[in-house]
Amino acid sequence: MKRRIPLLIAFFVGILVIVAEFIPHKPFGSLTGGLEDWFMIIAGFAIILGQMNLIKVHVLKIKYRQPNWQYFIVTIISFTIMVLFGLFWGTEDNGGIFGAGASLVQSIGSKPFDYLFNNVYQHLSASMFSLLAFFIASAAYRAFIGRTAESNLLLIAAVLVMLGRTSLGSFLTGWLPEALGFFHLPNLAEFIMKYPNTAGQRAIMICAGLGIIGSSLRIILGIERSYLGGD
């Protein structure tokens, strides 16, 4: 019951979705439509589970005084504040338990939930990922060495694309006559992207696609069961 029924569920819904693709009429079409509705709702609960799990993990880290445990208090406080702001006064288009928070909107310009999102979260998120600009430059300097034919190809393609996909490329080779238009850096970068890059990416896409099809079949047929966990 703990393992066999879930395997049967996965088999049944997997086959149903595939059959509905070929016979989109009743009952298969409507059954799949209902299933898609259910999926969205369960996915919503899965997101809630994710947040609950995050808090549980952080509480345990604080409880057992793991390294840097003090910082996890900040996580829980900021999570709680965001959730309470959302539940009390709602989001931009939604009211909360205490209504729409008109007086708050008047004094701070937006609802507290949106205020935190716009003035704190957006900046944190953008800064966090923009840090990679520095590290990718550092990685390029240390690791982008042309040692072999393969690494030289990698290097040349990267440099041509980096030049060709900026205004600098247009500036550097803009003077070339039309007969030599192919060597104009933006054209060269476009050629690389359109042909050799697409060829490589398409090979990856076809092979990864075959891999996903194989994995899907293994799941539907119950050969792959790791998603059920232990016991």
Binding site: I42, T80, F113, H123, L124
Partner: protein
């Protein structure tokens, strides 16, 4: 209150950027605020924009038409039992439903879009168009076939097959190089966004 928002934004940005010098408490606090606010945002949005309109409101407004939605509601609650080790096995039912549906849909969609359509897109007449297009199309066909050969590991890469696989590696290297160029471009764009905020939104408000 606009000044407070600008200062908060700048403070968070500098907090994150302080990591460039070395790891420090200022960065760690900013990092954890990021995690907490992100999780809180997802939580609130899931309740307001998925569970309320698509589950509770539908059942509440017209139970007769939507009574079947009780099933995903129960399955959703079963999903939450994952948090309690003794009851965690109950979450296998909704997980199986999600995994089975995703597997079925992925099977069909990847077969059509990533395998059949890509193979069709490669079966072109490479000898049509301008000289540049002909060279490009030959590269496209040869590169795709040799790239696929490289990923075929059931046969040893030797002889003629090995040559094909080797050519495949060259095409993959060009792809990875181009991808690196694009990645560098993306990261620099994000830095531009940050500096546009610091230089043109925050700085004018602190300078006399």
């Amino acid at each position: 209150m606009n000044w407070l928002g600008l200062w908060l934004g700048a403070l968070m940005t500098f907090g994150i950027y302080s990591f460039l010098y070395k790891d420090n408490p200022f960065y760690k606090v900013a990092e954890q605020i990021f995690v907490g606010l992100s999780a809180g945002y997802w939580f609130v949005y899931t309740i307001y924009f998925i569970l309320i309109p698509n589950l509770f409101n539908k059942i509440g407004s017209d139970f007769g038409a939507h009574w079947l939605l009780i099933i995903p509601g129960i399955l959703g609650i079963m999903m939450l039992t994952q948090i309690v080790p003794k009851l965690a096995w109950l979450s296998r039912y909704p997980i199986a439903l999600m995994i089975g549906t995703t597997a079925g849909i992925s099977f069909m969609r990847y077969m059509k879009s990533d395998v059949i359509s890509q193979m069709t897109a490669t079966m072109i007449n490479p000898f049509s168009g301008s000289a540049t297009e002909i060279v490009g199309q030959i590269l496209l066909v040869a590169g795709t076939i040799s790239g696929v050969m490289y990923f075929f590991f059931s046969k040893k890469h030797e002889g003629a097959f090995g040559v094909g696989a080797k050519i495949g590696i060259y095409f993959l290297m060009v792809s990875f190089g181009a991808a690196f160029g694009y990645t560098a471009m993306a990261r620099i764009s994000l830095l531009i966004g940050r500096l546009q905020f610091i230089l043109f939104e925050w700085a004018p408000n602190i300078l006399p």
